[in-house]
């Protein structure tokens, strides 16, 4: 299928417009995050590239990129959350979402419901704070080492 066909199918099923350039960019509501992802996986987008978040000071924007390698279709699925937002985990759909979501939890504090083991992955287990938020200072102290 082509990009425009997939965009058309998403529009009829869920009602979201998408921007088409090198990849299809869709912005969904948090409630539709997992249903749209499930639909994309069932349409053959089985390569999970990455998941990340951006702190836009009032909201967080969560972004996932999934692709179909042979059909050369890529989708950037994004969603806006507020600071204490929780969202459903995609770890059941793509195995790669497991570690990516743990990293987002570690660095931003966004919690994913339904994730099998939500734990910090890059920072020490007992670390307090979420470094990649904009209000967190770059050179935060950590006794006794810095």
């Amino acid at each position: 299928m082509t990009q425009s066909e997939l965009a058309g199918q998403i529009k009829e099923r869920f009602g979201y417009d998408s921007q088409l350039d090198q990849e299809i960019k869709i912005l969904v509501d948090p409630g539709d995050w997992r249903p749209v992802a499930q639909f994309l996986k069932d349409s053959g987008l089985d390569y999970f590239s990455f998941m990340t978040a951006t702190d836009k000071r009032e909201t967080f924007v969560l972004l996932t990129r999934v692709e179909n390698l042979s059909g050369k279709i890529a989708v950037h699925l994004s969603c806006r959350l507020d600071s204490n937002g929780k969202i459903e985990s995609l770890a059941g759909l793509w195995a790669g979402a497991d570690w990516m979501e743990r990293e987002i939890f570690d660095l931003f504090g966004i919690e994913f419901e339904g994730h099998p083991h939500m734990r910090r992955i890059l920072l020490p287990e007992e670390y307090q704070g979420f470094p990649l938020r904009k209000e967190f200072p770059l050179d935060q102290r950590y006794e006794p080492y810095r």
Partner: protein, 393 residues
């Protein structure tokens, strides 16, 4: 999903080993300092006798806060920082970052710069695979047990390549060669002859190593049918590069989405068929040969012209991409290396996400080691070729 839900919180004490009540299941820690873990990785293992039941990698021992630091530096200042992520192939890191910024700025780089980028990227691929091969020998054989033969041979060949880089850029490892708009240095006189001598020497050496490995019965027994990866799992995790090509999928970003004039070069994409460690190793060795072909084409066809589309940067704040976001990706020696850049019009990025191939490749480890013996963990980890600078960033 990793099946690490059974490992309790007590498993995270570094030196605790614990015998469980049902039979001879042992919970053991393979700590951050280990001669064969390619860097700082900790694996918490649940073993029954010598067979692995569960494994969970614990990472983060080299987390240096790169993404937050990048939000506080200007684009020119980030280029040397980015070298230190995948430190075995620094030129590819600079390349993907410069491609992302050039996409936002909508700058076309001159042909000579594109060819120089391809030349250095492929030389870097050969050097990176030589490091992989040398350390794979150490993993399988041990430093005092015969593995150091391959280690010493591969590093000797790598020194020839590093000499070329030193002539071109002045440094052995962190080159700072790719700049936004082109490259930084012109090749000196006589560079072409020396590159051709290097190609001749390395082609013979790689044939020798291929025979040394692939016809060796011990290597075959240690790597055949070990760590078999299905393409479905590989795609779901996000593994790409030699790891996915070893399972039979013929996908290479240099052919699918050519960047920096790769479409003008002729080369093949080697693939494996079963997806075990042997196939991944064989794919990497054959890739080295293909890279040397590309290097030869690049140095012979190097066009004249400028090496940078933009004048030399006088002020660090001069690069100000317009607002927007972009995702650029290249084929690094480990897989798909991507940069997701969000810019807000200021000289510093708003958000820089580094999509590291080793992070996704390493997430495969718990799935691949189940059912194998303790010594096979090193063979599998070596064949995934992780670099912890980019896993932890």
């Amino acid at each position: 999903m990793t099946n690490a839900t059974n490992l309790t919180a007590e498993a995270y004490h570094p030196l605790q080993t614990q015998l469980e009540k049902e039979g001879d299941t042992l919970l053991i820690n393979m700590g951050p300092q280990h001669p064969s873990t390619h860097g700082v990785l900790r694996i918490v293992l649940k073993l029954k006798g010598e067979v692995v039941i569960e494994a969970e990698p614990v990472i983060g021992y080299l987390h240096r806060g790169f993404e937050k630091l990048a939000e506080n530096l200007t684009y020119i200042q980030i280029i040397p920082l980015v070298d230190r992520m995948d430190y075995i192939a620094p030129v590819t890191n600079e390349l993907v970052f410069c491609l992302a910024v050039e996409k936002l700025l909508k700058v076309e780089i001159p042909k000579r710069a594109a060819y120089l980028r391809v030349l250095t990227a492929e030389l870097q691929r050969v050097a990176s695979h030589l490091v992989w091969l040398g350390t794979y020998g150490l993993d399988l054989g041990g430093a005092l047990g015969g593995g150091s033969t391959l280690f010493l041979y591969c590093f000797r060949e790598r020194e020839i390549i590093l000499d070329l880089f030193e002539e071109l850029t002045g440094a052995r490892m962190m080159y700072n060669f790719n700049q936004i708009g082109g490259v930084r240095y012109q090749p000196p006189d006589g560079f072409e002859t020396r590159v051709k001598q290097m190609i001749k020497k390395l082609e013979q050496a790689i044939v020798e190593y291929q025979q040394m490995l692939e016809d060796n019965y011990v290597f075959q027994v240690r790597t055949k049918n070990i760590g078999v990866l299905t393409p479905k799992l590989g795609k779901a995790i996000g593994a790409e590069g030699p790891v996915l090509r070893g399972s039979g999928l013929k996908y290479d970003l240099r052919k699918e989405e050519p960047y920096s004039s790769y479409e003008e070069f002729q080369f093949n994409i080697p693939t494996g068929d079963k997806g075990d460690c042997f196939d991944r190793s064989s794919v990497r060795i054959r890739e080295m040969k293909e890279s040397l072909k590309i290097v030869k084409q690049a140095i012979e066809g190097l066009p004249e012209g400028y090496i940078s589309a933009r004048p030399a940067v006088r002020v660090a704040q001069a690069v100000k991409p317009p607002e927007g976001e972009v995702y650029a990706r290249i084929e690094s020696p480990r897989g798909e290396l991507g940069v997701y850049l969000v810019s807000d019009g200021s000289p510093k990025p708003y958000r820089l996400k580094w999509r590291a191939p080793s992070f996704s490749n390493l997430a495969l480890l718990p799935h691949l080691v189940v059912g194998h013996k303790l010594a096979d963990i090193m063979a599998i980890l070596g064949s995934l070729d992780p670099v912890f600078g980019e896993v932890d960033r």
